[in-house]
Symmetry: C2
Subunit: 364 residues, 2 copies
């Protein structure tokens, strides 16, 4: 049964596995807030159900849902998806959920970071975020896993690990004054190392252009396997993403990982510019304190925001010619997995993508 442990995962020889390591399953949260998801969240719910079904082909999938949406979600999801009541303020379990860590003996525990809705009262995306902040505890209670309470604001989407001691992240997010202003860069490194069991942290400067998360790395770059990274890309010098991707590329190929390897970096060309339509903007309740969804706003589309399942990869598609190119590239990079595309525009409209709405639960 769940207890809160006072030591750190590193002290107890637990580590965060790479996403490509074996999973027990995956967690998601059901979208419903009408000030973020258009048309009563119905289009988003259909896409979340598609993502859930796609993942459930490969591994167990648990959907957390509020009391009010339980019957609707249960009805929209296939029977083999587990539906449990978990209230939340929105549906980004990558960011508000627990980070699972494992040890050599097959034990699994969870890290419960502090969550402040991507910036707290200074520039967070909504208020309150009290239910989101309880999601890790609720997930861990259901699984009867012990919990580490980490003394730092962190969203899961702001980090990627290779499972062998290396983490990549961005300064734009982790050093942002709206996250942990009282902590220095080296104090943040110390906490990350203690909780995720790291020896090497690779700092990129900025995340994807106009990403409202303050540059989460999971939209920009990720590990394909230890030593191998994928990076969102554009060759268009007039695109604001050009400089960001090129800068990240240089930083990545100049880096060595915890095992002393130079990183192999694969470029995945981003989709064409995606902007919010008038009709889409009109479907969202305009509420003070929630980030507005306005016609013409550019969304942070990227193929990097995929989810790696047991034997599969669930990749966002955007009805764009680059979809097929990304799909082929990922299929080559993951020769042992089936790459499945899911149309993800509706998730993008809510401010994230497939990786942001999923959280893997590694096997012990």
């Amino acid at each position: 049964m769940t207890k809160t442990i006072e030591s750190t995962p590193k002290q107890d020889r637990f580590r965060m596995p790479g996403e490509y390591e074996k999973h027990t399953g995956c967690w998601m949260l059901w979208p419903e807030r009408t000030d973020n998801w258009r048309n009563g969240a119905k289009p988003a719910q259909r896409v979340f159900a598609q993502v859930a079904s796609a993942i459930a082909q490969f591994e167990s999938l648990t959907m957390g849902v509020s009391a009010g949406q339980f019957v609707n979600a249960r009805g929209m999801l296939p029977p083999h998806v587990r539906v449990v009541e978990i209230s939340s303020n929105d549906s980004w379990i990558r960011d508000c959920g627990p980070t699972f860590v494992v040890n050599d003996k097959g034990l699994v525990r969870g890290i419960d970071w502090i969550f402040n809705a991507w910036g707290g009262l200074e520039s967070g995306l909504y208020f309150p975020w009290d239910l989101d902040d309880l999601v890790p505890q609720k997930v861990l209670d259901i699984e009867s896993y012990d919990r580490y309470k980490a003394p730092m604001v962190l969203e899961g989407g702001s980090i990627h690990v290779d499972g062998e001691g290396t983490l990549i992240t961005t300064e734009e997010c982790l050093l942002n004054t709206n996250r942990n202003p009282h902590l220095s860069k080296s104090e943040i490194e110390e906490i990350l190392s203690s909780y995720l069991n790291l020896e090497r942290i690779i700092w990129l400067k900025r995340g994807v252009f106009n990403d409202e998360t303050n540059g989460h790395v999971d939209n920009l770059a990720c590990f394909i396997r230890p030593g191998v990274v994928a990076l969102t890309w554009t060759d268009d010098k007039n695109d604001p993403q050009y400089e960001i991707s090129h800068e990240a590329y240089e930083e990545l190929i100049d880096s060595k990982d915890a095992k002393g390897r130079r990183l192999e970096v694969h470029k995945i060309t981003q989709p064409n510019t995606i902007t919010i339509t008038y009709e889409e903007s009109q479907g969202v309740d305009a509420i003070d304190g929630t980030i507005p969804r306005q016609e013409g706003d550019r969304m942070a589309g990227s193929y990097i925001n995929f989810y790696i399942a047991n034997g599969g990869v669930i990749m966002p598609t955007f009805d764009d010619p680059y979809d097929q190119i990304a799909l082929e590239k990922l299929s080559k990079l993951f020769p042992d997995r089936s790459v499945v595309g899911v149309p993800a525009r509706e998730i993008l409209l809510g401010g994230g993508n497939i990786h942001c709405i999923t959280q893997q639960q590694p096997s012990g």
Copy 2:
């Protein structure tokens, strides 16, 4: 993962075990409605926490709780109690929860009966009861157990089984027009037999005097083990319970169980009359449509309303001289279990007792 099965447990060779058979654990629901539980449900919450702690000495205990009470319940319960979000209209999981059935191969499934809050619109105890009616599905989803949807209104507290084909119940409840007016007695027997895998149903006439459940058997009589029954008792001819208990005694000793055994019946003298005090009545929100809690009302106190755990029995006490007598009797009847008393007046004030707020999950 959870699917709904169209056949019946009997067809699939599943049966409901006796409560004294081995459990995986126990389920409860956290009390909070202020129109039933006095003083904001705080005294009841303390007693529910005591019951949960007492059970958790013997077996795993999961507490279902609404989003709004999650943090409070988590704080009031010991760390080894699992707390999960399950919204409900009130906290009687014996009645609204699933009935677990098992087969010889160690599989466990759940029966989801129709729940109508002890009488529906005719004479139910509150409205609405939509969340209560979803509790079985939520419990089964968390456990990834398959579900039978039974075509009948039934509360778990209105039946007791010996696990060997025998069920005891009361006509006052199961034949009440506020439950299944469209079903005849023999149709009800047919459904009970198909879903619980029975060969013998013993009908008692009436439950405990003034029991607002319409005479649930679990306050009147229960199996100690196959062939052995305990019955609430009084020798006071002026007590309205006198005739009920004597009548039930005659019915029980005249009965044979599914194995052809005559039942051995043990009398457990009831506590002295317990009535609601003025102060207690004043702590409850007076709301139209909820059963009122009025000064001087007699409550249906009985020692029979205990919970059998792995190696333990959790028995209600009432600060009454008969507590000790009941405790000694139960200790003799359960020589291999520790009998633990928990002061239960606060549960009685809400309309039930320890058995009513618990639901065992048998081992496969």
